[in-house]
Structure formats: structure tokens, C-alpha cells
């Protein structure tokens, strides 16, 4: 025991020493300001650890500017923020599918963006294996931003403000897709949601009402195996027995793995901020949280891949449904939704 502590200490010491001995001479004024990413109490270790992408204030601000900049899209109208709106916890409010370039729609419902740093894979089908490469998907999709990487980079290079901001964040050297993607990752990964009423109750700073408390118990018994605390997702892929949409023909995870065992499985979404992100489901087919609960209790379709946890439907009485809804409302994080740090700069 003592031995391993000493061992760790010596490693730490070695690490410190390495940092010191490797420090370049040129430090000082031009160096970007380091940012720390704080893992909230009770959260597991994040998946994205900013490896080779040390977060800095300059990198974050650059990422934010890119996130809100229409020039990342072909016609200038579809920045990331057009589909990921802060007041909707960075989802698209009120649209089952989001608008993209040339009056087209996305084929999936835009999820809220928060606690992304804890996700092993991104998108409803888990097709994206790393937060840094995620923006390439909307950038190049003809029904989203419809741009090419080379064009975007050319536009950024032509802009004096961007040239200055890239330099401030990453030092000398050309603007390239790697730097752009790293800056976007610094912004997106920093969006953490951990200040809902639920979180304050957990910290002993607030108390649930009787209905919320009862809803929490029901949630833990009937929902938490998939929507696992504290992230409210276990990051797995599941078939909850939704009917296949005849037009979209979206088989979810199977599209990525090619494995029939993954047919109709979609990533379990976090339920944090669920009241801010309507509509619901991978294609936005549900117009209220209540409608999703009704699905679990009455319309689960059984197929070879339907999850055993929902196969026999989830029994929920009308009273329980109301309590569940009360509890889910406590997951809304108004601190995040109003945090000017993540809002567009004027």
C-alpha cells in the first residue's frame, strides 16, 4: 500500500521534472492562457482528455467563434449553432429534423450538446469515434452545411481576425483542418451540464418535492439501467422497440457495424435537459416526454433486437407517469442554458 503510494509519488515527481526540463525558453507574453477542465464531483473520468489538445482560453474562444460562424457552411446560413441552440441545451428546438443547406432536412434529430467529453462515440449510431473529427460530418453533408474542408480552410485563411486568433491559440504555422477541429473540440468539450436541481439535491443544496422524489424512485427502478446516473446515459446502443420509419429507413447502429444484431439500435440519449430539447427520439417523432413514456408503456414493438428491458413494455401507471415527469423536469440546467460563456460574442 505504502509502497504503491510512494511509487505514484515518484512518478509524479518524474513527471514534474520532465515538464520543467522540457520547458522551452520562449514562454512569457505570447503564450496562450491554460484552461482547466473540471470533472464534476460524482462524474466518471471523461473519455476525451484533451490529449494533444491542451485547452486554452484562446483555443476555446476560437472554437466558439467557429461554432457560431455561418461561413463554415456553403451559403453562410448554417453555422453549428443554427442546429445547436443554447436555449435548447444546444439541440434544435421544435424541429424533429433540423434544417440544412438548400431547404433540405437532416435525417436525424439534433441532440443537445453537453457532457460530450464523456461519450465514447458520437451520433445516434455511434459512427463518429472521436469528438475532434465530429464536425467533419455536418460540414461535408450536403443536407447540412454542404461545404468542403478545403473551402472552409481557405475562407478562414483569408480572414485577418481568424489568422490572428489561430496564431494566439496554436502559435505560428498554417491554419489547417487539424487546428480548426481542435479548436471546435475545445469549445464543445467544455460544455458541461451539472447544475440542475437534481445536482443541487445530490449536493444537499436543495430538496425534491414529494412528486419529484417519487418520480426519482420510479426512474431508478425502471429507466436507470439505460439512462444511468449521473450522465443519464450508459452510452450503449439499444432498440427500444420503435417502428422503422418507412421513408428514413434508419437502422441505426447496424449502418455502422453491418451486424444484423445491431439493427434498430440507437445510442441511449442523456435525459439531462430533456425538457429543453423537444422533440424526442432519433428522428424526433415524439412531441413530448409524456409521449415517450407512453411508448414504453404501450407501443413497444418486439423484434429480434428489441432490448429485454423493454420487451414486455414498462408498466407505468398514470400517477407514476406524472411523478416521472416531475422528476425529469429537475434535470433542466438553467445555468448552462443561460451561461454567457457559451453564448455568441456580440
Amino acid at each position: 500500500m505504502k509502497r504503491s503510494i510512494l511509487y505514484i509519488l515518484s512518478l509524479l515527481f518524474a513527471g514534474l521534472f520532465a515538464v520543467e526540463s522540457c520547458k522551452k525558453q520562449d514562454g512569457g507574453s505570447g503564450a496562450p492562457t491554460p484552461l482547466t477542465f473540471t470533472v464534476p464531483d460524482g462524474f466518471p473520468a471523461p473519455v476525451y482528455t484533451f490529449e494533444n489538445n491542451t485547452p486554452t482560453e484562446q483555443g476555446f474562444q476560437l472554437g466558439k467563434k467557429l461554432f457560431y460562424d455561418g461561413r463554415l457552411s456553403k451559403d453562410g446560413n448554417f453555422p453549428c449553432a443554427s442546429c445547436h441552440q443554447q436555449f435548447a441545451a444546444f439541440a434544435t428546438l421544435d424541429h424533429p429534423l433540423s434544417h440544412g443547406f438548400d431547404n433540405q432536412f437532416t435525417t436525424r434529430n439534433a441532440p443537445g450538446l453537453f457532457n460530450i467529453a464523456w461519450m465514447k462515440t458520437l451520433h445516434w449510431d455511434g459512427g463518429i469515434n472521436h469528438i475532434e473529427v465530429q464536425p467533419l460530418a455536418p460540414l461535408e453533408a450536403t443536407n447540412e452545411m454542404a461545404e468542403t474542408i478545403d473551402n472552409v480552410i481557405a475562407k478562414l485563411k483569408a480572414d485577418a481576425t481568424y489568422r490572428q486568433m489561430f496564431k494566439a491559440a496554436f502559435g505560428e504555422g498554417e491554419i489547417d483542418s487539424q487546428r480548426m477541429l481542435k479548436a471546435l473540440a475545445q469549445f464543445v468539450a467544455m460544455i458541461v451540464s451539472n447544475d440542475s436541481k437534481y445536482d443541487r439535491v445530490k449536493k444537499g443544496q436543495a430538496t425534491f418535492t414529494i412528486a419529484e422524489e417519487s418520480g426519482y424512485k420510479i426512474f431508478q427502478a425502471k429507466c436507470a439501467s439505460c439512462h444511468t446516473e449521473p450522465l443519464f446515459t450508459d452510452d450503449s446502443f439499444r432498440n427500444t422497440g420503435l417502428a422503422l420509419d418507412d421513408v428514413l429507413k434508419d437502422y441505426g447502429r447496424m449502418r455502422i457495424t453491418g451486424d444484423p444484431a445491431d439493427s434498430l439500435k440507437f445510442k441511449v440519449p442523456s435525459l439531462r435537459n430533456v425538457f429543453a430539447t423537444f422533440p424526442y427520439g432519433h428522428d424526433g417523432r415524439f412531441y413530448s416526454v409524456g409521449a415517450v413514456i407512453d411508448h414504453y408503456r404501450s407501443s413497444v414493438i418486439n423484434s429480434a433486437t428489441t432490448d429485454p428491458l423493454v420487451k414486455n413494455k414498462i408498466p407505468i401507471s398514470d400517477y407514476e407517469k406524472l411523478d416521472l415527469l416531475s422528476f425529469l423536469e429537475t434535470l433542466t440546467d438553467s445555468t448552462l442554458i443561460n451561461n454567457t460563456r457559451f453564448a455568441a460574442n456580440e
Binding site: 520532465a18 472521436h130 483542418s177 477541429l181 481542435k182
Partner: protein
């Protein structure tokens, strides 16, 4: 106790010396030999002409509009013992449409070889480590944006046998993990070559496109006009193109 602090010292020394290395310049070592490897896209040992019509071994006509692949870890061997090779870049995107991309040089301290090997494809780790630059820049059009991962090799063109719009065919071969792994190691034997200092030795490696259709598996354009995702078919194309390489010529001036 004692063992423990020794670990610490060991680490310090290790790390310190790693930094030291960065500071000291290139030590002038013994002899260095330079070898230039040139990939020559071809059809049946004739240099490939973009837009020209060819016939594959399955009796189908085709023209090529794009042909690219990632080459990595070039190494020379002498009776299976690897020579000590210095290679500036881990990956090279060889593009039939960009003449500067088909050649590169490596240096070695050893002077005799009778084999060349390299990898076609991008290591698994570089498929899952986020944004990359240089030849791996996703702007090169060799990265799947909706199903993260590199296209290891790509062949595009037209054929009257294609059922796709405009008679196009597009083979984008990738997949890096588990059963979908499409990374292939190519090992070619050569005559015994003796390198000379002060001279660059040229190895011309031909890449015969016909092999994409019939190297190992018979893959008709009429059956499959496209591959756009990892899987069994992509692996068959990888098996096929793994056989497309041959040594055309070795020239030591």
C-alpha cells in the same frame, strides 16, 4: 522502499535523457545510402493513363478517374533481416493524379538488400485519435466523415458494366478494426542489390490496377459498382489490391 525511489530516479533519468536528445543536433553517423521508391500506377505493365479505356481480366471495360492509397512503413530486407531505415514520414498518400506524391526517399545505414516491404493503409490508432494533419488531413478526401476512419485505398472510374448513374464505379476501401481490418502488408522480393554511397538507388514499384478486379477474388464491376464502407466486400478488394504490386525495375546509377 529502496526499490521504490529507484523507480523514481529511473523515470527522471529516462525523461531527462529524452529531452536531452531533442537538444543535441544530428550526430554525423557512418555511411548513409539513399533509396528512392517510386510507385507507378499501371495496367498490365503499361503506365496508367487517366481517361484511357482498359479491359479487366473479367472482360469488362473501364477507365480510371482517381487512384490513391496510403503507403506506410517502407522497409528494406536482407534475407528477412530488416535494414535500419530512416523514413521522414509515417504515411504517404500516393495519388496517381499528383506526380510528386508517387516518389519518396528513405535512407539506410546498411548497404545490401533483397526485399522491400510496406503497409497499405493507416494504423488503427491513427483512425481513432482525432484530428490529424499532413497526408492524413481529412481534407485529402480519404476520411469517412459519417463512420470515422480512413479510406486506405480508393479507385474511381467509369465502365459500361456499371449500373450506377453515369456508369461510374467508386471503390473506397477502409476498415481498421477487428474483422473489418483492411490494412495489408506487402512484401516483395528483389534481386540482391548493393547500395553505393553518393548514389540514389531507384526502386520502381508497379501497381497494376487490373488486380483490383481479379487479384484473388473475381469482383465484377457489373456485380459491385461501389464500396463505401468497411466490411466483407471491402476486405475482398483489399485482398485483391494487395497483389497489385511488383518490382518493375531497380536502377543504381
Amino acid at each position: 522502499m529502496k526499490k521504490v525511489s529507484l523507480y523514481g530516479i529511473f523515470f527522471c533519468v529516462l525523461i531527462f535523457s529524452a529531452c536531452q536528445k531533442e537538444l543535441t543536433g544530428n550526430v554525423n553517423t557512418a555511411r548513409q545510402y539513399t533509396v528512392r521508391i517510386t510507385f507507378q500506377p499501371a495496367v498490365n505493365s503499361q503506365a496508367l493513363a487517366i481517361g484511357e479505356t482498359y479491359q479487366n481480366d473479367l472482360g469488362e471495360d473501364y477507365t480510371v478517374t482517381a487512384f490513391r492509397f496510403y503507403a506506410a512503413y517502407p522497409s528494406l530486407k536482407n534475407n528477412n533481416a530488416a535494414l535500419n531505415v530512416t523514413n521522414e514520414k509515417k504515411y504517404r498518400l500516393v495519388d496517381a493524379g499528383i506526380s510528386s506524391s508517387v516518389s519518396f526517399t528513405i535512407t539506410t545505414a546498411d548497404s545490401v538488400f533483397n526485399g522491400l516491404s510496406f503497409q497499405v493503409g493507416v494504423d488503427s490508432i491513427d483512425n481513432v485519435s482525432g484530428a490529424q494533419s499532413g497526408d492524413l488531413d481529412p481534407g485529402k478526401g480519404m476520411f469517412w466523415t459519417w463512420n470515422s476512419g480512413y479510406v486506405m485505398a480508393k479507385l474511381e472510374g467509369t465502365s459500361s458494366f456499371s449500373s450506377m448513374p453515369a456508369n461510374e464505379f467508386t471503390y473506397h476501401v477502409g476498415g481498421f478494426s477487428g474483422v473489418n481490418n483492411s490494412i495489408r502488408i506487402i512484401a516483395l522480393s528483389t534481386q540482391q542489390v548493393k547500395l553505393n554511397t553518393g548514389h540514389t538507388t531507384d526502386i520502381i514499384v508497379q501497381a497494376d490496377i487490373n488486380k483490383w478486379f481479379s487479384g484473388v477474388h473475381a469482383l465484377k464491376i457489373s456485380d459491385n459498382a461501389f464500396v463505401h464502407s468497411p466490411g466483407a466486400l471491402a476486405k475482398q478488394y483489399a485482398d485483391n489490391y494487395a497483389t497489385m504490386f511488383s518490382i518493375a525495375e531497380i536502377v543504381s546509377e
